[in-house]
Symmetry: none
Subunit: 533 residues, 2 copies
């Protein structure tokens, strides 16, 4: 196996007293893969590196050790949940284990795909370059949709780049998802139209599981290009799935992830989780609490997150979005660390500054432009194709609930008559496909056949079986050299490769249901009917 078959996780390990670092490191490698006592692990599991391989151990500060463990891609890169599980599944329940680095071969990174638009793509949509973007959150929870839309409209008129929902706002009855999205989009569109701006809106997607896709459908139909999502609340794979399936941009929120960072000796470094991993799994923008606000990250940690989101990798660059107590007074200090490739997420300090959100926003924008200037280019034209953002056709197309019977016809079903002139080995047979070819997923098809006076079906055989139920009149089933009379509700069976034919030897129509496997083989014609008695 070459190095391409492996990825490497770098841990800072703090072994318990008396446990040598080699033993502790080996325990991690085994716990995260085979999860068996050392002596029970088959030799071949070491030889083939199914067990993680401890590649290096070096002393670090405070009695800790920096350890590199190499894992086979094929045990982990198959899915996002399993990747996280291999990184930090069971060992999250131990202590003294901190992930501080992650190295993936290029083809593994691209397997997870990363941001769909990233920094460059978002700038193309906005037409804005060479300065940080400004963003705010619609809040507080509990306002009406109209009030939230007013805030959105005012901020958009003030020239804000991105508006997102507060992550606690979703489908509560104060501001139901669809109404809120409709009103807010309208307010922003009106502001954009009046100012020539390009403000984008990222609604929060956080419903019950069954509602999330319909929320995304609704958003797409309303011209939304990006969504806010908290992957620790709704699932990383859900975030990745929505980005891939619908091509929406992702603004990822760190809600519920904080305990990964709170211990210096256990968890995952913020730069790895909110930086590398969020970027890997598709975040175009990653929100994190900046230093100096009301959360606990240090300036150095924040700079490391930004670096992980923007560093050179075979993935698009993602925007760092420092948040959490960002104040206008701190702008210079903040700008010095993050530079121009950042989305400054200002909530309370913008909304709380004055009741005139347009003026507050304009003040922030002025400050940003004062320091960075701005370059504007024609924003990317939203695509106009008929295929754009169309939701996938549901496998569950509408199926008729009921086919009402009406004199041997059924509503919504067409009766097909085979042309008697054609030399196809049958005559006077009509057919109606009842169920199985129109949106159902049954393993069977139900059809109705009717044979007129003197008519007959093909004389044939096949692997698939028939079950036939008499419905009207009376007919004859020829099979295996015998004849069986069929009257209403008589039920006949035709086995695999039994040559068979149905005939009507009476004056009135002979009708029957025929049930067959949905997936079935082609019939093989048999000798002419004349062979039959």
């Amino acid at each position: 196996m070459t190095t391409k078959n492996f990825f490497t996780v770098f841990y800072l390990l703090s072994p318990p007293p008396g446990v040598p670092p080699e033993v502790f490191a080996q325990n991690v490698a085994e716990e995260q893969t085979v999860e068996l006592p050392h002596e029970s692990i088959p030799d071949r599991h070491f030889e083939t590196c199914i067990v993680g391989t401890v590649d290096s151990i070096t002393a670090a500060k405070g009695g800790a050790f920096r350890v590199a463990i190499r894992y086979r891609n094929d045990i982990a890169v198959c899915s996002i949940p399993q990747f996280l599980n291999t990184l930090f599944g069971n060992i999250s329940l131990q202590n003294g284990i901190k992930i501080v680095g992650l190295e993936l071969p290029e083809h593994c990174m691209t397997a997870f795909s990363g941001p769909r638009r990233g920094i460059d793509g978002i700038r193309q949509l906005l037409g804005i370059y060479r300065r940080p973007l400004l963003s705010t959150a619609l809040k507080p929870l509990g306002l009406s949709c109209t009030e939230l839309a007013q805030i959105a409209g005012a901020c958009a008129r003030g020239g804000i780049d991105i508006i997102k929902d507060d992550h606690g706002i979703n489908n509560q009855h104060f501001h139901p998802f669809e109404e809120r999205l409709g009103r807010v989009t309208e307010a922003i569109a009106a502001a954009n139209a009046s100012t020539g701006g390009t403000t984008l809106y990222f609604p929060n997607i956080c419903g019950p599981f069954e509602e999330i896709e319909s929320q995304v459908h609704f958003a797409l139909r309303n011209g939304i290009r990006g969504i806010l999502i908290a992957p620790q609340l709704v699932g990383f794979d859900m975030m990745h799935y929505l980005a891939e399936k619908y091509g929406v941009m992702i603004m990822a929120h760190p809600s519920f992830s904080g305990t990964l960072f709170s211990s210096p000796s256990h968890g995952i470094a913020p730069s790895i989780f909110l930086g590398t991993i969020f970027r890997l799994f598709g975040a175009d923008i990653s929100i994190f609490p900046s230093w100096g606000g009301r959360f606990a990250f240090s300036r150095r940690e924040c700079a490391a997150i930004a670096a992980a989101l923007t560093c050179d990798l075979p993935l698009r660059r993602a925007f760092p979005a420092p948040a959490g107590g960002m104040r206008l007074e701190r702008f210079d200090e903040v700008a010095a660390v993050y530079g121009e490739e950042t989305v400054l997420l200002v909530g309370g300090n913008l909304l709380g500054r004055s009741s005139d959100h347009c003026t507050s926003t304009a003040l922030f924008m002025e400050t940003i432009r004062g320091r960075f200037g701005e370059e504007r280019r024609q924003p990317e034209e939203p695509r106009g194709s008929s295929c754009e953002c169309l939701p996938r056709v549901e496998r569950n197309a509408a199926v008729d609930d009921l086919l009402r019977f009406d004199d041997f016809n059924w509503k919504n079903r067409r009766r097909t008559e085979y042309k008697p002139g054609e030399a196809t080995g049958f005559s006077g047979v009509k057919r109606i496909e009842l169920f199985g070819r129109s949106g159902t997923k049954t393993a069977f098809d139900l059809r109705y056949f009717e044979i007129e006076k003197g008519g007959y079906s093909s004389f044939e055989k096949h692997l698939h079986e028939h079950v036939i139920i008499g419905v009207r009149g009376s007919g004859v089933l020829f099979k295996n050299g015998g004849r069986l009379a069929l009257r209403p509700h008589d039920i006949a069976y035709i086995g695999p490769f039994e040559p068979h034919q149905l005939r009507n030897e009476h004056e009135t129509p002979f009708g029957f249901y025929c049930i067959v496997d949905h997936n079935r083989d082609w019939p093989v014609s048999c000798a002419p009917r004349a062979d039959y008695p």
Copy 2:
């Protein structure tokens, strides 16, 4: 607003130096709801309690404070992600905040629904009472499907109650999901057939998002009744959704949740997260690392988790499944704490004890029975509904060519009447298996049902679809909250997971054909018929 409109979260708060506990508590209440600087919060948000309300602050050990904060249900109980977000979303990123208690009004608990079967339901399936259950994990990762099936078969022959996949085993190429599930189920079924046992198998569901449901479908069609799932990896709402939609039992795994517990002053107490919350969101069995093994929980914390899973609440009780270094030598110590209502999850110490897993298992079972004894009752007949899955009869038996109709009976077919005394949710239903269970190899079964005056079928739902053809009399199909009248030769369709019931509201018998896939999933009972119009 009454107390019913609120739920209460109990936090252990450790304010930073110089911050009074009242201020710190109020910050938490605001951060978790409106997320605005105190001075920017509209007055009416306090008056209407949109902002969380600090109800009490009492001094606790080590300079900490026990604080009760009351939140409105309607900001949080609308979805699982938003509930977790309100509990511990943004504040997870701060420090000194630990959730140590949770009180929900009854209607909120039942909104999340809790375990579908729980302790009592699992025991009914197994027919085993008055002793702890024994469980093991199929491992290690990297064995072939055949090897894993051999282990499963041996443990089942040894009398184990539950076998689960190791949580790192999913769809890797060593052991692809479908092949593994097929071989393991077969091995366990063969063992059960030879010993008369009832061993259950919980496969690990952890694919990429798009594959998870098809994995569940495959599992259901193969008779699986429960799955292993790690909610922090695949999402809590996904776990809840699968349990609700498919009626599968949930064995929940704590992978990736460990940092919630690692600090004594920040995070969520294990008993709340792995106990109350896992139970609330639908875990029938909650796995957690027991004390004395290779993980960090104390004996007291473990006992508290078990208590939270089994205490008296308006939710079914869930099984605690202590794991992680459980050894036979520790059995007495472990049994003394957990008692009989527990699933002992023994991995390495069972599989590694000897290469003869049957004997190892038998030794554990003997130890368990030696201490607790055992009570066996007839296991619950899994078929309790009018849509039930009957075991397939001999596929190669001679097949009747023709079932002659005789006054709504058919030659060679027995009419089965369900005993009206049994409280199985249906009444006055007769049934005749026409084709599909008697030597044919069709992908479908054809049955005739007859419902007497006033009778009704089970109110249920399932993945497999129904096609129904009216034969005699007239009846009503209730589905999706609507009613459809059915007369002879009307043909009705029931889609995947559409709750449905058939009733006869007339004097004369209502007869119909019902066509279903031969391989199909188990029906899930729905709410009582009385809910219907």
